[in-house]
Amino acid sequence: MIRVVLPPHLRNLAQISGELHLEIGGAVTQRRVLDAVEERYPMLLGTMRDRRTGERRALVRFFACEEDLSNESPDTPLPGRVAAGEEPFLVVGAMAGG
């Protein structure tokens, strides 16, 4: 079970509260986690990454285990503690603007 935390705006958009809990078989990568989030909540398509190129939106960041994973390859396995459900995968709106 993978734990995902979305920023408040996206939780409101998807009409969810608290963490998401997702079952993902096989390797747990950023791409597969986001695929699973978007599959369950299609209204989030395009909000975290470009829906055609798959590139992360410029002001969206991915954190886990106190690391910034934003610029990791989307196919790099996420930290073991995320894959084990011990730590959440955090989608964060970058601290910028007003």
Binding site: P7, H9, L10, N12, L13, M43, L45, G46, T47, M48, R51, R52, R57, L59, V60, G93, A94, G97
Partner: protein
């Protein structure tokens, strides 16, 4: 008794304002989509309880929301705004080519007859149409791929398609305006387009009466007279009597002919409203006085409307989509400001009241009359 519903988009959410036909006491609901920029909210003439909202954020991109119950509840629909065919280039601010890049939807224009059909105007400029209640969006590519497209250049606010007018008589005719490309018309449902900028003169571009490159801020039409259009341009207020074949300036005695919105009275096709602002860099009303100017002669002769509007220490702007009229008799006129006020007049502009004063900066106002 009829009711009036105002749909207000702001920098930080949408608000729905309602009143009975007297338009004296208003109820404010919202914010809907709090914290998101709501460029436009509009209602279907075919089903007034079907509303559309363009919700966007620099962080999370573009969302289209739809309500089927007059704004009580909303559901996100499709938001896949792809440029179709070869992407191509337009000009950037520095005159160099730059590929089209989708940023947001500025304006949503529902069909007059089919609640499932809605048009969307995008930045970078493109026109989209949905036939299935907003689930899928199809670009009308003939506009963006017009031979002049590579010469289009953004205005200060971006290269936005901000005005969509569906001809009430001829379903194949659509007018659009793009900042800073100009006005365009299709007579075949959006397959082919022609620039309709003859008579526009813009001293800020090298060829001041070029075919394209004019910064059109807004177009307005009265439904009984679809060949007559009014335009607020970057500078100049203009009028055409032949569906854009040629334009003539009608700025007349306006204190400044710079501004953004322009609207036509619901029952008097020669009664037109503008809100002049000072220069193209200060962007607030002259002399600290908020004045709507009305012409009852189709232009040229304008009178200031001030009763109930602040006449000292007021430095707000009214954006291009932030003025609307209702269809009651007397005609209601409404506008929202960059200071978060929404003003309304229930008598064609003679007297005004602040319906609400402290919203986020207002981006758009639309009016609906409900049974």
């Amino acid at each position: 008794m009829s009711r009036v519903r105002l749909l207000v988009g702001t920098r930080k959410g949408a608000f729905v304002l309602t009143a009975d036909g007297t338009r004296r006491d208003w109820t404010v609901s919202g914010p809907h989509f709090g914290g998101w920029e709501i460029y436009h909210v509009n209602g279907s003439p075919a089903d007034p309880d079907r509303l559309w909202a363009s919700q966007s954020s620099s962080w999370f991109g573009q969302i289209i929301q739809r309500s089927d119950d007059g704004g009580a509840s909303w559901q996100p629909v499709g938001n896949d705004f792809a440029y179709q065919g070869p992407i191509g280039d337009h000009l950037w601010y520095d005159g160099t080519p730059r590929p089209w890049e989708f940023k947001r939807i500025w304006h949503l224009e529902p069909s007059r007859t089919d609640p499932d059909v809605v048009y969307a105007g995008a930045e970078d400029a493109a026109l989209y149409r949905s036939d299935d209640g907003g689930q899928k969006w199809q670009e009308l590519t003939g506009l963006r791929t017009h031979e002049s497209g590579p010469r289009w250049q953004p205005g200060a606010g971006g290269m936005c398609l901000h005005t969509i007018i569906l001809d009430p008589v001829n379903p194949d005719r659509i007018f659009v305006a793009i900042s800073a490309a100009g006005a365009f018309r299709t007579d075949d449902g959006g397959v082919t387009w022609q620039p309709i900028n003859r008579g526009l003169r813009s001293g800020q571009i090298p060829d001041e009466d070029a075919e394209v490159g004019h910064c059109v801020h807004r177009l307005a039409m009265h439904p009984s007279r679809p060949d007559v259009l009014f335009m607020q341009k970057h500078w100049d207020v203009l009028r055409t009597d032949d569906a854009g074949g040629s334009w003539r300036e009608i700025s007349g005695n306006l204190p400044t002919d710079f501004g953004f919105p322009i609207a036509v009275h619901a029952h008097e096709p020669d009664t037109v409203y503008v809100v002049p602002i000072k220069s193209d860099s200060e962007h607030y009303v002259p002399d600290g006085k908020l004045r709507v100017y009305r012409s009852r002669t189709g232009g040229d002769e304008w009178q200031p409307l001030t009763k109930g509007l602040p006449q000292a220490d007021c430095y707000v702007n009214v954006l291009r989509d932030a003025m609307a009229v209702d269809t009651l008799d007397d005609c209601g006129v409404y506008f929202g400001t960059s200071g978060g006020q929404v003003y309304g007049s229930a008598d064609g502009g003679e007297t005004w009241n602040a319906i609400v004063r402290d919203l986020p900066a207002v981006l758009s106002v639309e009016a609906q009359v409900l049974p």
